[in-house]
């Protein structure tokens, strides 16, 4: 008897810690068990969450794939001078040589109508369709690379307007411009991903919060009785937080699964399309670190939603 009472402070702390950890482990597994006992309700909630997560993640990976495609585009200052239809090949060739003499020009390449057509046939995959055309709609082009010294936009623009005034030239296009345009579109798309992600993140948070609120009301008696025997809020909310964790964790995994399955379905046709263009486009999947991030964010948001609701509701729930 005396032995018991003289148990060391460390021994008692150890026991308390053991009880505390046991309590957490119990909360972790009992909340999972509880979810399994109401399979239909749990499945509905988890599916809704998983769809929200898959939407956000799917949009993200789609944009990442397109970005991969456009990321290879080099920003060069190459200019294309499209020539008027009535300019003959020899006149075009002559113009190209004249331009080459310009001190601001590095190199010049003349592509006549027929060459342009052949190139287009080879690369576009529309060879058959082009046969149906009576005449060649493509113009002759002079591809021109300015000297490196012309780095600033002003210089490029000056050169461009100079070429525009040539009588043989229909219009001038600087490659950099459309690369920039594409990159700007991609910038908007990735902003869009961020916004959609935030929106769906809110959805995950609030859907979980609402589920926990309903659960809390279903288990009101338990909450009241626990309060009456001296349970703290931290103790009472623990199993509910774990429920939130599981909801987020399972639906995060399910969301990843949905994205992966969708990509698997798309992979074959995408590669076919890529092969038609003579490219070797590799479809991007979520990487392992992106998967890990998803598996942290989804439960994180769910627990946050649960915590917010519990913090508010537990104060309102007073035993009668």
């Amino acid at each position: 008897m005396k032995h018991r009472r003289e148990k060391s402070v460390i021994g008692r702390l150890g026991e308390q810690l053991e009880a505390y950890l046991l309590n957490h482990a119990h909360g972790l597994f009992s909340s999972l068990g509880r979810l399994c006992r109401t399979p239909f309700t749990s499945a509905m909630t988890i599916l809704v969450l998983a769809v929200a997560i898959a939407l956000a993640g799917g949009f993200y990976i789609m944009v990442a794939n397109i970005q991969q495609l456009t990321g290879n585009l080099e920003t060069s200052n190459q200019m294309s001078l499209f020539l008027r239809d009535n300019v003959s090949d020899s006149a075009g060739q002559k113009l190209a040589e004249q331009l080459k003499a310009n001190p601001a020009v590095e190199s010049v390449k003349f592509i006549n109508k027929q060459q342009a057509m052949d190139e287009f046939k080879a690369n576009s995959g529309f060879a058959d369709a082009l046969k149906a055309l009576d005449s060649n709609p493509l113009p002759s082009v002079i591809q021109l690379l300015p000297k490196n010294v012309l780095e600033s936009n002003d210089d490029i623009n000056r050169l461009m307007s100079e070429f525009k005034q040539l009588p043989q030239v229909e219009f001038v296009q600087v490659d950099m411009q459309w690369v920039e345009k594409v990159q700007t579109i991609m910038l908007i798309a990735s902003r869009g991903v961020m916004l959609v992600g935030i929106l769906l993140g809110f959805a995950v948070t609030f859907i979980t919060g609402n589920t926990i609120r309903l659960e809390l009301h279903n288990r009101q008696d338990e909450v009241f009785i626990s309060k009456l025997v001296g349970a703290t809020h931290a103790f009472i909310q623990r199993p509910f937080l774990y429920t939130g964790f599981w909801l987020g964790f399972i639906s995060g995994f399910l969301g990843w699964l949905i994205i992966t399955i969708m990509l698997l379905i798309l992979e074959n046709p995408v590669e076919k399309l890529s092969a038609l263009y003579g490219g070797s486009f590799q479809l991007l999947y979520l990487s392992f670190s992106e998967f890990l991030l998803l598996m942290m964010i989804a439960p994180g948001l769910a627990v946050l939603g649960a915590w917010g609701v519990l913090n508010y509701q537990l104060r309102l729930l007073k035993p009668q």
Binding site: I225, V229, F235
Partner: protein, 220 residues
């Protein structure tokens, strides 16, 4: 141990439930709280259990003023109370063992100790061997005794019972009262709200009588 000093309790829509209540209970004292329905018995118990706060006056428990106590400290003070209800307030989806263990789990006591103390409490109320049963498989008297075991498992300093014999026949009622008497003998303060005049007169303890929120008789 427990004292009420000029305590008033007013509900916004029901008016005054308690007015100017004064009394004092010593450690190890047992008392009955009587009065008609609506006289304020439940309100008085709720003030002690910190389910409500007094509108005016002081409710002192073990040196703590319950009228000004912070929300965060309430759980810790409740651990020294043993609450017993007329409708038992058991969790019907948990076993007798788990119901009685709840106050100990809440505190974070280790497993062996919980097991030992739950068994001791069940032994005291004569329910040893029914740990694995569910409350609904027990009779009303047995369920009430599970409630009592849960109230005493954490060795409370004060037991509050609200109509503990309301659903029991006279024999069982007496049995329950004798159990409370035993707790009193080991130094626990016991306050029992009841209608049962027979039992009150038979046991002869102090009676606090409420009438429309006023404490009428305070006899020993």
């Amino acid at each position: 141990m427990l004292s009420f000093e000029n305590v008033y309790k007013r509900y916004p829509d029901a008016g005054e439930a308690l007015s100017d209540v004064n009394f004092h209970l010593d450690k190890g004292e047992m008392a009955f709280l009587t009065g008609r329905s609506g006289a304020g018995k439940s309100t008085l118990l709720k003030l002690i259990a910190m389910m409500e706060k007094s509108s005016r006056g002081k409710v002192m428990l073990d040196g703590h003023n319950l009228s000004t106590i912070g929300e965060r400290r309430i759980p810790y003070l409740r651990r020294h109370l043993g609450l017993i209800f007329q409708d038992y307030k058991l969790l019907n989806d948990r076993t007798v063992f788990d119901n009685v263990a709840l106050p100990l789990i809440v505190i974070g006591i280790n497993h062996q100790e919980i097991s030992r103390r739950v068994r001791a409490a069940l032994d005291k109320v004569g329910l040893l061997g029914k740990e694995k049963k569910y409350p609904l498989a027990l009779s009303g008297g047995e369920q009430q005794r599970v409630g009592i075991a849960r109230a005493i498992v954490n060795k409370p300093r004060l037991i509050l019972a609200d109509e503990p014999t309301g659903n029991l026949d006279p024999d069982l009622s007496l049995e329950v009262m004798l159990m409370f008497e035993e707790f009193k003998h080991v130094g626990v303060t016991v306050l029992i709200a009841t209608h049962d005049i027979d039992l009150i007169t038979r046991l002869g303890y102090r009676v606090l009588k409420l009438d429309k929120g006023h404490l009428m008789a305070n006899q020993t």
